[in-house]
C-alpha cells in the first residue's frame, strides 16, 4: 500500500468517526453561522429575543446531550443546573453589580463543581435509578430557592429582577440584538469546545462507557472519573445556558425552574437528535416554538396538541430532526448514485 492510499484511508476513518469534517459539513456550518448572523437583522426585537432563548436552550440541550447522548447517563435534573447558573448570574449582577459577561464563567464553574459533586454519588446508580435521583434534584430545587436563610440572596419567592445590558462600544443596535449576538458567540465557542472534546480520545471513551462499561474499563478507561467529569461538563453547559437565559429574561424566580423545565430539555434533546451536536440547535427551537404552535392550534387543550405533535415527531423521525436530515440526505445521494 502506498503512502497516498494509506492517508486516504485514515482520512476516511476520521470522517466517519466525526473527528474531521468533510467539505459538505464545513459548508453546512458556514451556512448555519451565516443564517445565525443575519436572523436578527431580518426580524423584530421580539423575535430576536425568542431566538436568544432558542440559543440558550440549545446550549442546555447540548449539555444534556453530552451526558445522555454520548455518555449514556440519564438526567431529569438539568433544570437544577439551569437554575444554579441563572441564579449565579442574577445574584452576581443584582447583589454585587458585576458585569453580565463575568457571570458566565462563574456560572460555568459553579455548575461544573455542582455537577461533578452530584456525579460522584450518582456513580452508584444506573439507568432508571439515576433518572430517579436526578428527578429528586429537580423537584428539590424550587423549594430550596425559596428557603428562608438563602432568601437574602435569592430573593425568596419574589425572585431577582435584573437589568438588561446595553450594547457596548456605543454600538447602535438594540439591547435584544446585542444580547443575541453575545449569546451566539458564546454558543459558537461552547459548540466548538464540545466538538473538540467529543471527536477524539475523550469522546471515544465516553461512547465506550455508554455502549459497554465493562469493556471500557477493561480497556483502561477510568470510568468513574470520566462519568463524574461528564456530569460536571454537562452541568457547566447547562449552567452557562441558564445564566444567558436569565440575562435575556431579566428575571429569575423559583417557579421558572420547575421539573417541567427538565422535561422540556429532555424533549428538546430527543426531538433534536440524541447524541448529535447540531441536533441540539433543533432541540432549542423545539423547546421555544412547539408550545407556541400547540397553543395556536388549540387554546382549550394545548398540552394535548403538544403531546400529539411529539408522538408524530417520534413516529416520523425516530432519530430526531437531525437523524431525519441525515437519513434524507443519505437516501438522496444513494438515489443519485444509482441513477
Amino acid at each position: 500500500m502506498d503512502v497516498q492510499s494509506n492517508a486516504k484511508q485514515r482520512d476516511f476513518a476520521l470522517l466517519a468517526s466525526g473527528a474531521k469534517l468533510s467539505s459538505l459539513q464545513w459548508g453546512g456550518i458556514a451556512i448555519a453561522i451565516g443564517i445565525g448572523l443575519i436572523v436578527p437583522l431580518m426580524v423584530s426585537d421580539y423575535r430576536t429575543f425568542q431566538f436568544t432563548l432558542v440559543l440558550s436552550y440549545a446550549m442546555a440541550v447540548l449539555g444534556l446531550n453530552i451526558l445522555t447522548g454520548f455518555n449514556g447517563q440519564f438526567s431529569l435534573g438539568h433544570s437544577a443546573f439551569y437554575a444554579i447558573g441563572a441564579y449565579t448570574a442574577a445574584i452576581m449582577m443584582d447583589q454585587w453589580e458585576i458585569a453580565y459577561y463575568w457571570t458566565l464563567p462563574a456560572a460555568g464553574v459553579v455548575c461544573l463543581v455542582a455537577g461533578f459533586l452530584f456525579g460522584l454519588p450518582a456513580l452508584r446508580l444506573e439507568g432508571l435509578y439515576l433518572a430517579l435521583a436526578t428527578f429528586a434534584l429537580s423537584i428539590a430545587t424550587p423549594p430550596l430557592l425559596k428557603y428562608d436563610h438563602l432568601s437574602k440572596w435569592t430573593g425568596g419567592v419574589q425572585g431577582v429582577v435584573i437589568t438588561k445590558p446595553d450594547a457596548p462600544f456605543g454600538l447602535q443596535i438594540s439591547q435584544d440584538n446585542w444580547l443575541y449576538y453575545f449569546t451566539f458567540v458564546v454558543l459558537l465557542v461552547l459548540y466548538f469546545c464540545a466538538w473538540n472534546l467529543l471527536r477524539g480520545r475523550t469522546g471515544r471513551a465516553l461512547k465506550a462507557i455508554r455502549d459497554n462499561p465493562i469493556a471500557a474499563r477493561a480497556m483502561g478507561i477510568n470510568t468513574s472519573l470520566y462519568k463524574s467529569l461528564t456530569f460536571g461538563v454537562s452541568a457547566l453547559y447547562t449552567g452557562v445556558a441558564g445564566a444567558l437565559g436569565a440575562i435575556a429574561i431579566q428575571f429569575v424566580a423559583p417557579d421558572s425552574f420547575t421539573f417541567f423545565l427538565s422535561v422540556a430539555i429532555l424533549v428538546g434533546m430527543v426531538i433534536g437528535g440524541i447524541g448529535s451536536i447540531p441536533g441540539s440547535i433543533f432541540g432549542g427551537i423545539v423547546i421555544v416554538f412547539v408550545p407556541n404552535v400547540a397553543e395556536q392550534i388549540s387554546k382549550a387543550a394545548p398540552w394535548a396538541v403538544y403531546g400529539t405533535l411529539l408522538i408524530l415527531c417520534m413516529y416520523f423521525m425516530p432519530l430526531g430532526i437531525w437523524g431525519f436530515i441525515r437519513m434524507g440526505y443519505a437516501r438522496f445521494t444513494r438515489r443519485r448514485k444509482a441513477s
Binding site: S44, D45, Y46, R47, F49, Q50, L53, P143, K146, D148, G156, V157, Q158, G159, V161, G245, I249, Q250, F251, A253, P254, D255, S256, T258, F260, V288, P291, E295, K299, A300, P302, W303, Y306
Partner: protein
C-alpha cells in the same frame, strides 16, 4: 430672501397642521386602538400545574364576546388576545413581549399570578403599557409612584388582614391572638398587614406566631404550640392543604378560638370538606363577590344577567366556580374604564381613567362594596364583608368593613 420666505411659509403651514391635525381625526390613539377596534392582551395558565386558573381567562374571553355582540364599546370591537404562559415566568415574559411588540395591544389586562406578573413588572413600566387589574392579591401592585403603569384589582392580602385587625380592635380589644402563617411573601404580606392593622396594640395582642414551609408534611405541631399559648383568637394564614389540616387539628384539640381563615382557602369543596364540615362551623373569613350558589341572590338582577351570560357564552362552564364570577366582575371593571376613556384611547388616558374611579359599582360585587381609586391609591377593591361558615355555606355577617389607612 427666497429661502427665508420659504421658511416662514413652511413654519406657518406646520403650525396650522399641528393646530388642526388632531381635531380632524376621530380620536386619539396609541398602538392597539383605532376607530373600529381595541386590542387587549392577556396571559393565563391554560396549561401546566396551575391550569385550573385558566378558567378565568376563558370567562374573560366570553365576557368580551358578549360585549362585541352588543355592539362593542363606543362603537369599537374588543379584540381580546389571551396567550398561555403555563404559570412559568420566562414564558410570561416571552408571551407579554409578543403581545406588546408584535400584536401591539393597547394594554395588558388581568395577567395571572404573582411570580409571572413580577417578571413583567419592570418591562411594562419601562414600555409604559398598562398592566391593569392583575390577578394576584400581593400588596406590591399598588405603588403608583414607582410603578405608575401597574394596578391590582382584588383586595390585597395586607388589606384583608387589616379588616380582621380592625374587627378585633372594635369588638374584642382584649383578645389574645395566635397566628399560623406560610413562610413566604404571601404569608408575610398577611402577617405584616395584620400587625400594621393592630398598630400599637400588636405587641400586647399577638401572644404567639408560628410559621410553616410548604414542604412541611403537616402543621399539627405548630397548632399544638399555638393552643398552648392560651390564645382565644386564631388567625389562619394558610394555603388550602394546610388550612384543612389546621382546621381539623384546632377542632380535635378541643380549642375553640375565634377562628379567622384567610380568603385564599375558603373553598368549601377544596378545604372545608376535607377538614370536615362540622369541624369548620364558626370559621370567619372575608368576601367581596356574590356567590353564585347562594340562594339569597337568586332574584338579584346582576346574578340573573350572569346566569344568562353563562348559559349563552360559557355553556359548559361550572356555575359553582367562583372563577367565573370573578372573571365577569373584573371584566366589567375594565369595560367601564374603556367606556370612560371615550375616544381618547391612549395608554396614558387609560391609566388616568383607571386611577379615577370613585364609588364605582360593578356587577357581582357584594352590595356596599365599590371600586375606588385615585392617582395615589392603586388598590381598587379594599373593603369586604365578614362571612361565617354555618356548616354548609358561608353566611354573610355584619356590615362592609374597610381597612384603616
Amino acid at each position: 430672501m427666497a429661502n427665508r420666505r420659504n421658511f416662514v411659509v413652511a413654519a406657518a403651514a406646520l403650525a396650522i397642521a399641528l393646530a388642526y391635525g388632531p381635531a380632524g381625526a376621530a380620536g386619539k390613539y396609541d398602538p392597539g386602538a383605532s376607530d373600529t377596534e381595541i386590542k387587549i392582551g392577556n396571559t393565563n395558565p391554560y396549561s401546566g400545574p396551575a391550569s385550573a386558573y385558566g378558567t378565568i381567562g376563558k370567562a374573560i374571553a366570553a365576557y368580551w364576546k358578549m360585549v362585541n355582540d352588543n355592539g362593542g364599546i363606543n362603537g369599537r370591537k374588543i379584540n381580546f388576545i389571551s396567550l398561555d404562559d403555563s404559570y412559568s415566568p420566562p414564558k410570561t415574559v416571552e408571551q407579554t413581549r409578543k403581545l406588546v411588540e408584535q400584536e401591539k395591544v393597547l394594554l395588558d389586562f388581568q395577567p395571572l399570578g404573582t411570580p409571572t406578573n413580577t417578571a413583567i413588572h419592570k418591562y411594562m413600566n419601562a414600555k409604559k403599557v398598562p398592566q391593569l387589574f392583575v390577578a394576584t392579591g400581593a400588596g406590591k401592585w399598588g405603588q403608583p409612584k414607582k410603578f405608575p403603569w401597574t394596578m391590582g384589582w382584588q383586595p390585597a392580602y395586607p388589606g384583608e388582614a387589616k379588616i380582621y385587625a380592625s374587627y378585633l380592635l372594635n369588638n374584642k380589644p382584649d383578645a389574645k391572638v395566635a397566628i399560623l402563617y406560610q413562610n413566604d411573601d404571601y404569608g408575610k404580606d398577611y402577617l405584616n398587614g395584620f400587625i400594621a392593622g393592630l398598630g400599637a396594640k400588636a405587641k400586647s395582642m399577638i401572644v404567639a406566631k408560628e410559621s410553616y414551609e410548604t414542604s412541611d408534611p403537616t402543621v399539627d405541631p405548630q397548632v399544638i404550640k399555638l393552643k398552648a399559648s392560651g390564645a382565644d383568637v386564631f388567625f389562619n394564614i394558610t394555603t388550602p392543604k394546610f388550612a384543612a389540616q389546621a382546621i381539623r387539628k384546632v377542632h380535635d384539640l378541643g380549642w375553640q378560638p375565634l377562628h379567622f381563615l384567610n380568603n385564599v382557602s375558603t373553598s368549601v369543596g377544596g378545604v372545608l370538606k376535607p377538614a370536615g364540615l362540622e369541624k369548620s362551623v364558626g370559621l370567619i373569613t372575608t368576601a367581596y363577590l356574590k356567590e353564585a350558589t347562594d340562594p339569597q341572590w337568586a332574584n338579584d338582577a346582576d346574578m340573573k344577567a350572569w346566569n344568562a351570560w353563562m348559559d349563552k357564552y360559557l355553556p359548559g362552564g361550572d356555575k359553582s366556580s367562583s372563577f367565573n364570577v370573578y372573571g365577569y366582575a373584573v371584566s366589567a371593571t375594565m369595560h367601564e374604564v374603556l367606556k370612560r376613556a371615550g375616544d381618547n384611547l391612549t395608554r396614558a388616558n387609560i391609566m388616568k381613567q383607571a386611577a379615577s374611579l370613585k364609588g364605582l359599582k360593578v356587577p357581582l360585587l357584594l352590595p356596599g362594596i365599590t371600586i375606588d381609586t385615585s392617582p395615589t391609591d392603586f388598590y381598587p377593591i379594599e373593603c369586604a364583608r365578614l362571612a361565617k361558615f354555618d356548616g354548609e355555606k358561608w353566611q354573610l355577617v355584619g356590615d362592609v368593613l374597610c381597612p384603616k389607612k
